[in-house]
Amino acid sequence: MTAVEPRFDAVVHAPPRLQICGLLAAVDTMEFATVRDAVAVSDSVLSKHVKQLEDAGYVQVRKATIASRQRTSLALTKAGRAAFDAHVAELRRIVGG
């Protein structure tokens, strides 16, 4: 396994984006509603932060209609996963790990 180069990322770090990235890093995709409940923010607040992550190329948003209900799922992109891993490595470096 190659070591991750620690790198602070302001886009990832800002609350609650770090939390969003942390959740998405553990899965392939996560439903918008599941992220919202875990982060404990409103739909509009989550949408705003997801848009920022999407603009940075870190998150991909997919919409699908299942049983006449629209479901939105979120996934970290390869760049997002790399940025998150590097940011966590930087936090660990700061802690002294």
């Binding site: 899965v27 995709t29 439903e31 875990a38």
Partner: protein, 160 residues
């Protein structure tokens, strides 16, 4: 949770804040782990579908495997949607990380069971070989699926 913002290109995060961020991330993962295990019937259905798919080759009707592929595909999609609805997430079986060892065991077992069964059934006309292989792999996928989930949950809880 407090944190700093980059000032002059340098992150203003002190060790205590960084440790708090890391602890919060771990707590979120642990909460995710609590809902990650699929119900037993999910694996039972997966096992039955796997048995049915491979056993269809023992029916010796040319269309049976084609029907089985269609049914297996539809069933797999349905199970995927059920898992998404139950957990709000989806995780690929072959994702990188500790769960890869369960995936590798499944791949090796599948080849080890299927190759001899296909030779027996399709080349040597031993009827029922693929049905036996289907039963073995059906039980195998149930056990490996549960094992895979336990590894994943342990990883989320930081127990690995």
């Amino acid at each position: 949770m407090t944190g700093g913002t980059p000032l002059g290109g340098e992150p203003a995060v002190d060790p205590q804040a960084a440790a708090a961020h890391l602890a919060a991330l771990q707590a979120d993962r642990a909460a995710l782990a609590d809902r990650a295990m699929q119900p037993w019937w999910y694996d039972a259905l997966l096992g039955l579908m796997t048995f049915g798919f491979f056993a269809s080759y023992s029916l010796w009707f040319p269309w049976a495997p084609v029907v089985a592929v269609v049914l297996y595909g539809a069933g797999a999609r349905w199970l995927m949607s059920v898992y998404r609805r139950l957990t709000g997430t989806w995780v690929s079986g072959d994702r990188p990380g500790p769960t890869r060892r369960a995936w590798r065991v499944w791949t090796v077992c599948s080849v080890a069971v299927l190759v001899p069964a296909m030779v027996l059934e399709l080349l040597l006309d031993v009827r029922g070989a693929m049905a036996v292989a289907g039963a073995v792999l059906g039980i195998g996928i149930v056990l490996i699926s549960r094992w895979w989930s336990r590894i994943y949950i342990a990883e989320l809880r930081g127990e690995r």
